[in-house]
């Protein structure tokens, strides 16, 4: 049995036939295939995956589209990519004996790496790597094309920054971070989708020294997710971030998204549409977001042992 979902013109998700090695196929045909995949991984499977771009070769990897007089856009040339998302064994309903959908596998580097490899082999801009810190998988560009030649790229969020120690509204903290990145890397960084309530209502305190921009973003995400520890352990929000590069404005855009708890690592099936997200805990094995805390050195760490994960 094969199910097909077409959430948009860009995506083709083919759920697996019932077999030992279940795999979902996600085909993306538009620009920024990898960040679109990350979006799907978050919304469908609840995977916590961050994403970081590199600039593209504007002479060779960017095209201009004129939609109407005075209306134009510049974007990356793209090739379709089909990603394969592995799934676990089918669940079963004990009472009925009927086989259920395949389970979501635990997030790991080994889970994400083949998808990054599929992207890297697709001929689309830049090359990416993946790391896993026990809670988040981080996908980041490590090389990109400059004047037609591939060159190594130091991820923007790996840049060492100096942040003022005081508590400030989080939008100010982020503005300061953008200014630091401009100073250190001569890049333009702007805010994209970050919840207005977060920006208006939350205060951020950045602690630690010798921080990277990624550490700062992680601390801000921690603040957004925990509200100064008013949120019960295990209930803090799961907030990955994306730093995407836009060729039209030559600007990086930082966005943060709340990933509803799909209970990855639990015996539940992915949703078939991004719209059907829910934060209802999984019934079979209650999911747990490892409590995070900020160490004195400014690193956000997760207490995976607090969760009853397999």
């Amino acid at each position: 049995m094969t199910k097909r979902y077409l959430p948009s013109a860009l995506l083709l998700l083919i759920l697996p036939t019932r077999c030992a090695l279940a795999v979902d196929e996600i085909t993306i045909t538009g620009p920024k295939a990898l960040v679109q995949l990350v979006s799907e991984l978050s919304q469908r499977y609840g995977y916590l995956v961050t994403y970081e771009d590199a600039p593209v070769d504007t002479e060779r990897e960017v095209t201009t589209m004129v939609y109407a007089p005075g209306r134009m856009d510049k974007f990356e040339i793209s090739r379709p990519v089909t990603f394969h998302v592995p799934r676990g064994p089918a669940t079963s309903d004990v009472s009925s004996g009927v086989a259920g959908p395949e389970a979501i596998l635990p997030l790991s580097k080994e889970l994400i790496q083949p998808m990054v490899d599929e992207y890297n082999a697709s001929g689309n801009p830049s090359r990416f790597a993946v790391s896993f810190d026990g809670t988040y998988a981080h996908i980041y560009a490590v090389s990109h094309k400059v004047n037609g030649r591939m060159e190594d790229f130091q991820p923007i969020l790996s840049t060492k920054v100096t942040m003022p120690p005081q508590t400030a509204p989080c939008y100010q903290t982020l503005n300061y971070l953008y200014a630091e990145l401009r100073r250190m890397r001569n890049v333009n960084v702007a805010q994209s989708l970050i919840g207005a309530n977060w920006l208006f209502r939350d205060q951020c305190t950045i602690v630690g020294a010798d921080l990277t921009a990624g550490d700062v973003v992680a601390q801000v995400a921690h603040e957004f997710g925990t509200d100064h520890s008013q949120v019960a352990p295990g209930k803090e929000l799961r907030i990955p971030w994306w730093l995407t590069y836009d060729a039209f404005t030559d600007t990086y855009y930082l966005s943060m998204h709340w990933v509803p708890n799909k209970s990855p690592q639990a015996d539940v099936a992915p949703t078939s549409s991004p719209a059907t997200s829910t934060d209802t805990p999984a019934p079979a094995r209650p999911a747990c977001t490892p409590p995070s805390k900020i160490r004195p050195d400014g690193k956000v760490v997760f207490d995976a042992g607090a969760c009853n994960t397999p």
């Binding site: 860009l10 538009g30 620009p31 920024k32 960040v35 679109q36 979006s39 919304q43 201009t64 004129v66 007089p69 005075g70 209306r71 134009m72 856009d73 974007f75 990356e76 939008y171 100010q172 982020l174 503005n175 200014a179 401009r182 333009n188 960084v189 702007a190 805010q191 994209s192 989708l193 919840g195 207005a196 309530n197 977060w198 920006l199 208006f200 209502r201 205060q203 957004f224 509200d227 008013q230 949120v231 730093l243 995407t244 836009d246 060729a247 039209f248 404005t249 030559d250 600007t251 855009y253 930082l254 966005s255 998204h257 709340w258 990933v259 509803p260 949703t271 719209a275 059907t276 997200s277």
Partner: protein
């Protein structure tokens, strides 16, 4: 029968006048035929539809009679007619890359020809015979609106002088003459850099400019506020020697809101006068100047004890149930318990007491037990008035810790049954202009209790938002290149992030909370208005909507916050406006005019 136009008379007759003014008939260009025939005549009428716009539909019917009105036909349908407005014959060349007076190799361009709809377009280049003008869509005809357009990029092989004469349906369009030159004199602009800042700090503007060797450039930044925060200035940037980076630090002490930056380059003559001005195309940048908004209200004291409570830790097993009505701190209601030995229900006729929202201390006494005595197991039981005193726990309005009056050594914890709002009423509180975010809407909400239910003030509780699975969200503003902006389709509240809980305040009604800030970000709104393919025309609009499920903190031991309302959040965006609605409540003044 005579034929020709004379049959209609020399002027517009009654017959030829439409009393409704929809159309008129020109008799001089109308006719009747066939000439001198005895068969049915053919009538040709020259009809002009008055004020008709393209696409207006008419049904044309006729009847006939002879000159003596001896006979008359029935009305008969001649057919339907859809009018069209013929576009004027025009041709326009637009350089999409830059706006200098030069057309340069490497520039993208568009050529747009207008004329009658669905007519062939031909072009003569430098006097050659006209050939079909095939555009990038493979069409060589005007479309249904009378427009033919093509785009392209000039290459090295295009250098030269051009006279292009276009024809629509063989009719010449006023000519087009231009020159494409190589890039030796080319001025190029890198992307403009700007940043969101707090008010009072310096806004760093920069752009990288390449100019012809030996030229003397001067770079200007034109800074324009949105229509909500009007502002306009032009500042002259500076650069280090031999550097292509031009920058300017703009003071933002008087700025607040969203701003647009457009760089331009002036090439100066030796005497400092301006030789030419080059507006950097498609190099717009946006920045936002903001001030801090006040913190939302902190936790409030529990405003009311109205509810059904159980004291559950009495050493004896006859824990009582208290049905409390709290009227401005004065407690009333009833109480009961079940006799431990016999299961005899003991009901109290009255309940008195007090509750202080300031100290969260309560004292209540159930009086008048009935029955006054009962026997069980050979013992006589005489129920007494029952008094409990205590204090509600911090951050919990449904749990109290105290003692019994008849046994101060015995704790008397009280726990209420779950009290959940029946819904909430949303109130539009304005736009966040004062904080520098003119496209962010602010809402407050007032909690509701069930009609005819007990009046309970939810002050002291807290509410949160979540992303329910249904109803599904949708996003028609998203376009294919939007992921470059970190903008995935917004079909769920999760795309915008879930905030901290709101603390419900005592409003001496049922409790209220706020502010719920709802916005996509001013820069993203500007980029959607600029680039979304859903907004190609001035009349088009797009919509983003998703559900917001509201829940209140649980008072039970389950820990699951019970939901009590689902609001639809809807953004509607046009090239010039933004509207935000929450639970169908929006700015009563209509969509926000917000644009550059």
């Amino acid at each position: 029968m005579a034929s020709g136009s004379a049959q209609f008379g020399s002027s517009t007759s009654t017959i030829l006048t439409d009393s409704e003014g929809l159309c008129s008939v020109n008799p001089s260009t109308s006719s009747i035929g066939p000439p001198d025939g005895e068969s049915s005549p053919t009538v040709t009428l020259a009809i002009t539809f008055n004020g008709a716009t393209s696409g207006a539909g008419y049904t044309i019917e006729s009847e006939w009679t002879d000159s003596g009105y001896d006979g008359m036909s029935n009305w008969g349908n001649l057919g339907n007619w859809t009018t069209s407005t013929t576009m004027p014959l025009t041709v326009q060349l637009t350089d999409l890359t830059q706006t200098s007076s030069f057309y340069l190799v490497g520039d993208s361009y568009s050529i747009t020809v207008t004329g009658p709809p669905t007519q062939p377009v031909t072009v003569s280049v430098n006097g050659a015979a006209p050939i079909a003008a095939v555009n990038t869509q493979g069409s060589s005809s005007t479309n249904g609106q009378g427009v033919w357009t093509t785009t392209g990029t000039w290459g090295l092989g295009d250098i030269g002088n051009y006279t292009q004469t276009y024809y629509v349906a063989g009719v010449q369009v006023p000519g087009l003459s231009f020159q494409v030159s190589n890039g030796a004199t080319r001025i190029t602009c890198g992307p403009t850099s700007a940043a969101d800042v707090g008010q009072g700090t310096q806004e760093p503007l920069s752009v990288r400019i390449s100019t012809p060797p030996g030229s003397t450039p001067q770079v200007l930044f034109s800074v324009t506020g949105s229509n909500v925060n009007p502002y306009s200035t032009s500042v002259s940037a500076s650069s280090a020697p031999n550097s292509s980076l031009w920058s300017y630090q703009l003071a933002t002490g008087s700025l607040l809101g969203e701003y647009e930056v457009n760089p331009s380059v002036q090439l100066l003559n030796a005497d400092g006068s301006v030789a030419s001005t080059y507006a950097c195309p498609a190099r717009v940048a946006y920045f936002n100047v903001r001030v801090s908004s006040p913190a939302n209200s902190g936790p409030a004291k529990c405003a009311s004890m109205t509810g059904t409570w159980s004291d559950f830790s009495r050493a004896s097993s006859h824990a009582a149930t208290w049905n409390i009505t709290d009227t401005s701190g004065s407690l009333g209601g009833t109480a009961s318990y079940t006799g431990a030995c016999s299961g005899t229900p003991v009901n109290f006729a009255g309940l008195t007491g007090s509750y202080s929202p300031v100290t969260q201390a309560y004292s209540m006494t159930a009086t008048g037990p009935s029955p006054t005595s009962y026997s069980c197991g050979g013992n006589l039981y005489e129920p007494q008035d029952l008094t409990v005193k205590g204090v509600l726990a911090p951050n919990s309005c449904g749990l109290g810790a105290g003692t019994y009056s008849d046994d101060s050594s015995t704790t008397s914890d009280v726990l209420t049954t779950e009290r959940v709002p029946a819904g909430e009423t949303t109130q539009f509180a304005g736009w966040a202009d004062q904080y520098g975010s003119p496209t962010t809407a602010m809402f407050n909400a007032m909690l509701n209790t069930a009609p005819n239910g007990p009046a309970y003030d939810f002050g002291g509780r807290n509410v949160n938002q979540g992303a329910p699975a249904t109803p599904p969200g949708s996003d028609s503003c998203w376009w294919q290149t939007a992921p470059a902006l970190g903008y995935a389709k917004i079909t769920s509240l999760s795309s915008l992030g879930r905030s901290d809980p709101w603390n419900v305040q005592d409003d001496h009604k049922n409790g209220s909370y706020g502010i719920d800030y709802i916005g996509l970000g001013d820069t993203l709104i500007a980029l959607i208005q600029l680039r979304s393919t859903a907004l190609l025309t001035s009349t088009s609009s797009c919509t983003i909507q998703f559900p917001q499920q509201m829940s209140i903190n649980s008072e039970s031991s389950t820990g699951n916050d019970p939901p009590y309302a689902t609001n639809m959040i809807v953004f509607t965006i046009t090239q010039t406006t933004v509207s935000v609605s929450r639970a169908s409540v929006t700015d009563p003044n209509g969509p926000r005019s917000a644009h550059f």
